[in-house]
Symmetry: C2
Amino acid sequence: MTPSRTTSGGTPGPAGQPAWELLLPAVGAPARRRGRALQEALREAVRSGRLAAGTRLPSTRELAADLGVSRGLVTEAYEQLTAEGYLRGERGAGTWVGGAVRAPGGGGSGTGGTAGADGRGAGGPVAGPPGPDLRVDFRPGVPDLSLFPRSAWAAAQHSVLARLPHRALGYPDPRGLPELRGALAGMLVRRRGVVADPERLVVCSGVAQASTLLGFVLRARGLRTVGVEDPGSPEHGRLFASTGMETVWLPLDGEGLRPGPLAASGVRAVVVTPSHQFPSGIGWSAERRTALLDWARTVDGYVLEDDYDGDFRYDRAPVGALQGLDPERVVYAGSVSKSLAPGLRLGWALVPEALLDEVVERKRTMDLGNPVLDQAVLAEFVTRGGYDRQLRRCQRAYRERRDALLAALAEHLPGTGVSGIAAGLHVIARVPARFGPPERFLARAAEAGVALRSLEEYGTARPADGDVRLVIGYAHLSPSAVAEGIGLLAGAVGGPVGS
Amino acid sequence: MTPSRTTSGGTPGPAGQPAWELLLPAVGAPARRRGRALQEALREAVRSGRLAAGTRLPSTRELAADLGVSRGLVTEAYEQLTAEGYLRGERGAGTWVGGAVRAPGGGGSGTGGTAGADGRGAGGPVAGPPGPDLRVDFRPGVPDLSLFPRSAWAAAQHSVLARLPHRALGYPDPRGLPELRGALAGMLVRRRGVVADPERLVVCSGVAQASTLLGFVLRARGLRTVGVEDPGSPEHGRLFASTGMETVWLPLDGEGLRPGPLAASGVRAVVVTPSHQFPSGIGWSAERRTALLDWARTVDGYVLEDDYDGDFRYDRAPVGALQGLDPERVVYAGSVSKSLAPGLRLGWALVPEALLDEVVERKRTMDLGNPVLDQAVLAEFVTRGGYDRQLRRCQRAYRERRDALLAALAEHLPGTGVSGIAAGLHVIARVPARFGPPERFLARAAEAGVALRSLEEYGTARPADGDVRLVIGYAHLSPSAVAEGIGLLAGAVGGPVGS
């Protein structure tokens, strides 16, 4: 049962010692988290180069026996890391270490002239007056604000004001409070599989500011265009436009950005939402994740990963962030806007070394840094487990609402298809043509007091068929409000009227 | 005792009714605030055009008799408004309404192509490592952080979290929370004599952000240069540079910006600190305030008034802000950085109508708006009187420290002259040449662990004589630390060693 030793590129251990022993410490983890420990160890081994690209992995049966763990655990680890782009595999042919990964500090050409892209919360605020007769608002972008943990937050505020030294109330470090950068880095490594050196983490007011910061830096380096996903959030383009960069729409298919049009576009910066594409709801395939990073290295470009709702996955562990595969080419940005409240205006960016100084200087001239009390409160919240508890709470609530939405669609608008992965705060629903055409559908919905967005508002494509394609935000509505809203909608557009 | 009725431009009342009756309501105010009420009524009468430019005012004796108030009250009102530029007068010749004032919405040409200038807290953070052997730090820019009202702030935080509706936790209005804009507008009208329509008030992260916001707006309108005071804060130029604008140093004299070089410079935007010039410490004369506004109207330009420490005046009521004279030409910016703590990153800008939409859109793309909880806390703090109490507390503390500094200089470095008005958080001290030359003085101070800034660091001028000119920040030091520091300094440079 010796595992394969054809470690074509990895660093084998001393003679005769299986390279896979580097995974053994994971086995020592408590049973309930052994699977995750194995994934982390494997990810780290690939990332560090100890398992080099092209290395063939042992079969799941072999490795399970070698490590003394269940085969299911190994299979799950292989699948997870394949989805994230660390590994690649073909059914029956085996599993290899992928070529996508670059170690931090190792991959950048460092020759300047290039772009970190930008994006604000893809699922961010959508303008438009609700209207006086609004009864149910299905527009995406805002979480359930009643889930904000007021008493826990108040307790953290109180504790911060009691302990913070006076000097911390002075002009802040524009990069952010050290204790928050450390806490966030740890949390992001654990939850999102990123490479997060606190020295590379810049606290900012959210993905929107991360976008503007990066846009200015790229524009100063001479870039004039940025690619955005089509369909995607129009806000990405608006934010970049404010920095003097023009937007190029790049077509998506069911797996991610199409490599051909990307290469032909001439852009050297893109904004993407690979974990849960906004608005289409797909998760990018491992191949497309890899292809995007290959492209970035080829053109000396940058990728802004807008991880706007990466914490919310309902059917499996979230796919790790793209940034983990190449922290020198990917700017990773996220915020507490979906997990706590948009009104906190608190987020983070993990920035490639080559862009770091310029981003920090931009942050300094924009606002001198984020408010320190809020930063200290979030640090305490993350460190003491409040943030994880909050995410679990939201996860439960949003999963329940998503289920309620799917049930209501099946009942009231039969034949409606829901696409995308089971994740996030919105779904794409394709309502059959018999409820349309789209213009009439949306007009009737509005008359009935149901606010909706159609997918066409988020990109350049127009539907070839008569189906009505909707982007339905459900997270801010109770399960009963979701059901009621879909019933109301169906009544207005001529579906079976529900209870 | 009928007051003069040669109201050459004002709106006289109905036949026979003295125009000065418009001041009568002020007389109904309680005795302890009658003087202020009179000043406010007079200011408002000028601003509204009811007293037009060129109108001759009655003598103080006449008006006092007419209104039935003490003559001292009227004299004080005339002096205050003359200092602010609303009135002008010559000893023995009488007092007239000045020509500087423009009513809001009335004066702008509205034809675009122009600038709102920018500046960050002129007395803002100064970089530079304190060094391991720092014993006393006299560098200006930071208030006494131990004066931050922690328990009152904590109570306001608690109350805000208990009462704020859920929806307030969503994406904010980029202009700021309505309740805060209202509270700040009222406070600024009362304390700083500005014209403050809450609709024109933009909450921002401080004067630095106000500067960057305006710089981008001006640059987008085609401006390429901005004038800054010489001497002045180098930070103003750095902030504007980040928006693509070049800095032009404009020479000051003892009264303010010199009109000739200003007109010759070709700039159409300037950043100024008229209430307490940084760093020279002068208060601009009424003539220069008026001349600056005349210039702005002539060139269709804008003025950024950085009111970085306007709340702190120790010998008299603070001179009202320049903005009150022409809210369509002056962007007024301030923050809580000196009154509460720089770490809060909370400030405000009063923006001319012609620039407002562009400034708000810039604010939106920069960060979507300030954090809402902090805004709500400050609103509560201002509304319930906590902010006024805090200012009184700081005022007492800083006045005491300034007195301690002056006494210590007189004792330990005799012959040292202190220039500028009794205001703010720093003084300019001119140490006699016998303690110099300047290079040796500063080197010896550093060796002794005394951190100091020389005036030459803030502009282009070099002293013609051998005097050592220092910018000494005292607000963050206790009176005993101030005295000890100056003693230490004197010992190092060869002055009489103190107790």
